[in-house]
């Protein structure tokens, strides 16, 4: 590896370490992880509200919902907060006066935030996995006693889903950092970022509408076509039920395609973000 690349990776790794250490200490992170863990644990005692669905599916939905909602909130708020903390406290002045490029700064911030999101999502996923596994054992014994088929639960599927959620949160974090590099305030970044996340979750509607020919005029088609490329389809990462409880229903290559698309969006968002951030006056 060339020396300049090695030096650049070293700087990014040190930026990442600092960001991770700063993020993991935040009370907001501790609060959200405790709240989400409480939600996942409470799913066992609330399983009588399963509305006729299987018990494991209810627990799964409850846990995935917590990971999805609080993970999104954490990704939006923490990415924006860590970026603006450097700007407002003027620590960025000290860091960027060193041989650290704006791209290295932004990439280091992204990886640091993404690692914290990984800690969040894998902790909750492990907790959910333990609950699901324990209930699955009990339900299997009960099913065998009455001669029914035992419930299906895939721990590999659960962690595949966790990996996909981590990728989704990475896309959200990269998107927020891109907005932050342009924005002047934390609040603006959080509001615009949240709107983009909601748009990403609903992007599949634009894709479906485009598949119906004849219903749209030229400008609507153009708007929807552009939006399907600019805004990532975050809904494609939400196939937790299928991966965990019914692995056979997942289309071949769906996971790979979602991860590849997520990776592409992360690279593009960080690239655009660093181009904008280079012009920013510190």
């Amino acid at each position: 590896m060339p020396d300049f690349m090695k030096a650049s990776l070293t700087r990014i790794s040190w930026m990442t370490r600092l960001t991770f250490l700063e993020a993991i200490r935040q009370r907001f992170f501790a609060f959200l992880i405790l709240l989400s863990a409480a939600l996942v644990l409470s799913s066992v005692s609330l399983r009588f509200l399963d509305f006729g669905h299987g018990e494991l599916k209810f627990v799964c939905d409850f846990g995935f919902g917590g990971m999805f909602l609080f993970g999104s909130v954490l990704a939006v708020v923490m990415s924006a907060q860590l970026f603006f903390a450097e700007m407002d406290n003027r620590t960025a002045l000290t860091l960027l006066a060193k041989p650290v490029s704006r791209t290295e700064f932004l990439v280091g911030k992204f990886i640091g935030v993404w690692l914290v999101l990984g800690v969040f999502i894998f902790t909750l996923s492990t907790l959910l996995g333990i609950i699901l596994w324990a209930r699955c054992q009990e339900l299997t014994v009960a099913a065998v006693e009455v001669g029914k088929a035992p419930p299906e639960f895939s721990i590999t599927g659960l962690f595949s889903y966790t990996g996909m959620q981590w990728a989704r949160l990475g896309v959200v974090a990269a998107m927020i950092l891109m907005v932050a590099s342009l924005a002047r305030t934390f609040l603006f970044t959080v509001i615009v970022g949240s709107m983009l996340v909601v748009a990403g979750q609903l992007q599949w509607l634009a894709q479906e509408t485009l598949l119906k020919p004849g219903d749209l005029n030229f400008f609507s088609k153009l708007l929807l076509s552009v939006s399907t490329y600019i805004i990532p389809n975050l809904q494609q990462f939400n196939i937790g039920d299928a991966l965990t409880l019914d692995h056979g229903s997942v289309a071949d290559g769906a996971v790979t395609l979602a991860l590849f698309s997520g990776g592409c969006y992360i690279v593009v968002f960080l690239f655009i973000g660093s181009l904008i951030f280079r012009q920013r006056e510190i």
């Binding site: 040190w14 003027r90 002045l93 000290t94 860091l95 006066a97 060193k98 510190i282």
Partner: protein
């Protein structure tokens, strides 16, 4: 080896756009100056005169509207230029959860110090800034003076050729200010070029070789401290035990040679000197 000036600035101009209508505010107006290597250079001026903006442009933190800047022969804002430069910002703020030693080590790694040399570089920087003992305390527990000194340590840990200090004595007591003055002299003795922005004019006068004064974005004076401060048309004679008769006789003799005595005063020491003589035991190390 490049022997040109440490910093060369030519026709530097910076306009900021303000408000919705994009009105231009000229913060730096056609400034040109050269800072020789191995000297301590004082950049002075009232608040809002464009000093900090000039420094930020030199460091690549703000882009100029017009003009050219080079650092140690390299174009400004490049990695080559910044790896040879150390910077202490005004009122420095660092991540409070780090210890002083961790911060300096972290900055050493960001500045390209090799892993095997980091520990020695950190200890040297802490020793020069008298922060060795406090190095294991978290930065959140530091006083203002200690923050300035750890800021100085992080600026010099990679042994830069050029050190830029923006208000290094802001909020620091006179004893601490004098200590920072001594550190600047020690760095100069090592051959470093130091650019100092400060409102402590007495200290600037003591430590700087050259000064430049800015006002409303323009450079209004630049030169060697001795040249710009010495009044060649007047002379001060210090005399012990001067009696009224001797004074009258001296005035008559001087008048015979065409000289006119303008004042007879007793020399005074500065309040700064008196304070430092009296207060020695309250250092916050």
């Amino acid at each position: 080896m490049n022997t040109g000036p440490a910093i060369a600035v030519k026709g530097l101009t910076k306009d900021f756009r303000i408000g919705m209508r994009g009105l231009k505010l000229r913060a730096v107006d056609n400034v040109s100056l050269e800072i020789p290597r191995g000297q301590v250079f004082g950049l002075l001026g009232p608040n809002g005169c464009g000093k900090s903006t000039t420094l930020k442009i030199i460091l690549g933190l703000v882009s100029p509207t017009a003009g050219e800047v080079s650092i140690l022969g390299f174009p400004f804002a490049t990695t080559s230029a910044r790896s040879r430069t150390g910077f202490l910002p005004e009122a420095p703020y660092f991540h409070k959860f780090l210890t002083g030693r961790e911060l300096v080590a972290y900055c050493a790694r960001l500045s390209g110090v090799k892993p095997e040399s980091v520990n020695q570089a950190v200890e040297d920087a802490l020793a020069l800034t008298a922060m060795t003992e406090a190095g294991d305390r978290t930065i959140g527990t530091y006083s203002k003076g200690m923050l300035q000194r750890i800021g100085l340590a992080q600026a010099i840990v990679h042994d830069p050729e050029l050190v830029i200090l923006d208000e290094p004595t802001a909020g620091v007591d006179p004893v601490g200010s004098a200590a920072i003055g001594q550190m600047i002299k020690a760095m100069k003795a090592k051959g470093k070029t130091i650019v100092l922005c400060s409102h402590l004019l007495g200290q600037v006068e003591q430590v700087c070789d050259r000064i430049a004064i800015m006002d409303r974005g323009k450079l209004v004076l630049e030169g060697r401290v001795d040249d710009v401060l010495t009044r060649r048309d007047q002379t001060i004679i210090s005399v012990e035990n001067l009696t009224p008769e001797a004074r009258r006789a001296a005035e008559e003799v001087l008048a015979q040679h065409g000289a006119r005595v303008t004042s007879f005063t007793h020399p005074r020491r500065s309040l700064d000197d008196l304070f430092r003589e009296l207060v020695t035991g309250s250092r916050d190390a």
